[in-house]
């Protein structure tokens, strides 16, 4: 029997360093040839919860999520998703996760119907299962009406819905979402947040990164505050804030680290 307290996602001492190009050195005004994007990061996320990685731009959120989704490899440490190591079993990890960003990355030429089938095949979903899943998800998220319209002809909200539904075509246990509402208008952002709530209702574990306090307060069960590649605070939202607003708590931590008064 599965232990419900066993973490679905477990990151252990993750470290990732990137070489800086001359151009990046000029932009960041540094002589350093390397930048530590993630520095000894550890945290856990559990079944059925929404875990938020909160931090400013450049804190290492996207790098962390890319490591967890096996798009890049950590230099040190390891992470386990559903018990599979991102280092040793990247294929198995990809089978049990859905990864997406707020940027729409679907080919505009194809229809939602075609792309759903295509990505189903990419994940090795059986045809019969795929047909049933398409019927269920398209109906649940209102995609039936435009399933045969090319993606390039859809509104941003519709495209986002398609993108979201395709990310769970293979019924993953974990959904990793990098900056889910970044750059979206209020209507599309609502589509996304409603979708995440629905996913949670469906029993999925969700890991998201954001720098928007209200999104974390609205959606997340637990939160990890990440600054300069390090996990500064990690825990249930209420415990972490201790009666303060998340925004106040964050800046208290942030300026505290830099020796400044809030």
């Amino acid at each position: 029997m599965e232990d419900i307290f066993e973490p679905i996602v477990k990151a252990e001492n993750l470290k990732k360093t990137f070489a800086l190009s001359r151009k990046q050195q000029r932009v960041e005004k540094t002589q350093l040839t390397h930048k530590v994007a993630v520095n000894g990061l550890s945290f856990s996320a559990y079944r059925g919860e929404i875990y938020g990685l909160l931090g400013p731009n450049g804190a290492g959120k996207t790098t962390t999520l890319r490591i967890l989704s096996t798009l890049i490899r950590p230099d040190e440490g390891d992470a386990y998703l559903m018990g599979h190591s991102v280092r040793k079993e990247p294929q198995k990890v990809r089978d049990c996760i859905g990864f997406l960003t707020s940027e729409l990355k679907l080919e505009g030429f194809f229809t939602p119907d075609y792309l759903f089938d295509f990505f189903g095949a990419m994940h090795g979903v059986e045809k019969e299962v795929l047909a049933e899943r398409k019927r269920e998800l398209f109906s649940r998220f209102g995609i039936d009406a435009f399933s045969q319209v090319r993606v390039r002809d859809l509104s941003t909200g519709m495209k986002q819905k398609v993108s979201l539904v395709i990310s769970i075509v293979h019924d993953p246990d974990v959904v990793i979402f990098d900056e889910p509402t970044n750059g979206l208008d209020v209507l599309t952002a609502k589509v996304v947040t409603d979708f995440l709530v629905e996913l949670k209702r469906m029993g999925k574990s969700i890991l998201l990164s954001t720098h928007i306090f209200s999104l974390v307060e609205k959606l997340c069960d637990r939160v990890g505050i990440i600054i300069d590649g390090k996990m500064i605070e990690d825990g249930p939202l209420a415990d972490l804030c201790g009666g303060k607003s998340l925004e106040d708590k964050f800046f208290e931590i942030y300026y505290g680290l830099r020796g400044e008064v809030v």
């Binding site: 990137f18 070489a19 890319r66 989704s69 096996t70 798009l71 890049i72 490899r73 294929q91 198995k92 990809r94 089978d95 996760i97 990864f99 997406l100 940027e103 990355k105 679907l106 080919e107 030429f109 194809f110 075609y114 089938d117 295509f118 990505f119 095949a121 990419m122 994940h123 090795g124």
Partner: protein, 366 residues
């Protein structure tokens, strides 16, 4: 199943977009139109080892020999009967036949020298050289050239020289038009990283690009090829009968050479596209590769006596053996080895693309 889905997606993308189909067929139509208006020949300067039959006698052969050797070639004069010599030249067993009239050197005037030659590049080169020397040295004699060259020979010579270059260039253009968008375009738009986040193997993604794109590019190349073939009558006044002069084996080898060259070029462009950050960047790099390919194929038109080592040189092997087959030589094992070499290079490039797809530095610019 995943590989099949990747392949079907590329075909679906192409064949359901009339504009893409049109752009791949268009070059063939344009070539047909343009080549019906203009045409050009390219000559060759090559060093040869001539074997020349001589009917009759004259010390002028020594003058010809000295001139030939001064040009870097060598010549061996072999005495022979006139009719026997003509037959040998006609069958391309000798470069040429010189027929001196009786008592040529002693005659004060009225003597004649005839030069019989055939349609091969070697024979034509000797005729040009020898006729110039003889006309210069023997002003009091008539010098007459007789060619066994037929209209069909001319057409074959033209086809053997120019068609491989054109095929190589058209195939490259066709490969470029479909591959850049499919690989660099997907990378630029980020849709490739969406596929990378699934559990499909990187080698399947690479193959899922190369196989369908090669098929599509082959259609484009065929369109361009047909454009050339059907414009030949207007271009050089040769009829299509020249192409009918080849046997099934020649056509099969030509097809194999072209079909092995297509995936090779698609793989090269796909590699460059995978390395590039945008379609624009990939276009720039690919243009450089295209110039190199064109240079190699143009050079091969001048270097007609390359050894079998060209089998191992991509592009050059296709051009050289296509030229030889079109010139009437059926070099089966060399052509098959060239096909094998091209497929081997393609496999290596597919492996390389799969490696690049796994590289975070290349795929995500870190």
């Amino acid at each position: 199943m995943k590989l099949v889905a990747l392949i079907k997606k590329e075909f679906h993308r192409f064949f359901h977009d009339p504009r893409l189909v049109f752009t791949i067929i268009l070059p063939g139509l344009l070539i047909f139109l343009i080549y019906n208006v203009i045409g050009s020949f390219v000559g060759t300067t090559e060093k040869y080892q001539y074997k020349v039959y001589v009917a009759g006698e004259s010390s002028l052969t020594e003058v010809v020999k000295a001139t030939v050797e001064a040009s870097g070639s060598t010549v061996e004069f072999v005495p022979i009967g006139e009719e026997e010599g003509k037959a040998a030249v006609k069958d391309e067993k000798a470069s040429a036949l010189l027929v001196f009239s009786g008592n040529f050197d002693a005659a004060a005037e009225g003597g004649s020298v005839e030069i019989w030659y055939n349609g091969s590049a070697e024979s034509s080169a000797f005729y040009n050289l020898a006729s110039a020397v003889l006309r210069e040295s023997a002003m009091r004699f008539s010098v007459t050239g007789h060619s066994f060259v037929t209209g069909q020979d001319l057409a074959k010579s033209f086809i053997a020289n120019l068609l491989p270059f054109l095929v190589v260039t058209f195939v490259f253009s066709a490969c470029m038009s479909v591959t850049l968008e499919s690989v660099a375009g997907e990378k630029e738009r980020g849709t490739l990283s969406t596929i990378l986040a699934t559990s499909v193997k990187r080698s399947h993604i690479a193959l899922g690009k190369i196989i369908p794109l090669s098929c599509i590019a082959a259609i484009g190349a065929a369109s361009s090829f047909l454009g050339v073939v059907f414009s030949l009558p207007k271009l050089i006044g040769a009829d299509l009968g020249a192409l009918g002069g080849y046997g099934f084996g020649s056509y099969a080898l030509l097809l194999l050479l072209i079909m092995s060259y297509v995936p090779l070029i698609v793989s090269v462009i796909a590699s460059v596209s995978t390395l590039s950050r945008s379609v624009k960047e990939a276009s720039g790099y690919t243009s450089v590769v295209m110039i190199l390919v064109m240079l190699i194929s143009i050079l091969s038109m001048f270097l007609t006596q390359l050894g079998d080592w060209v089998i191992a040189v991509p592009v050059l092997n296709a051009v050289v053996y296509m030229g030889k087959i079109l010139g009437g030589e059926l070099l089966v094992w060399q052509s098959l080895l060239a096909v094998g070499a091209n497929l081997l290079y393609t496999a290596l490039l597919v492996w390389l693309i799969a490696k690049m797809l796994s590289s975070e530095r290349i795929m995500f610019g870190k």
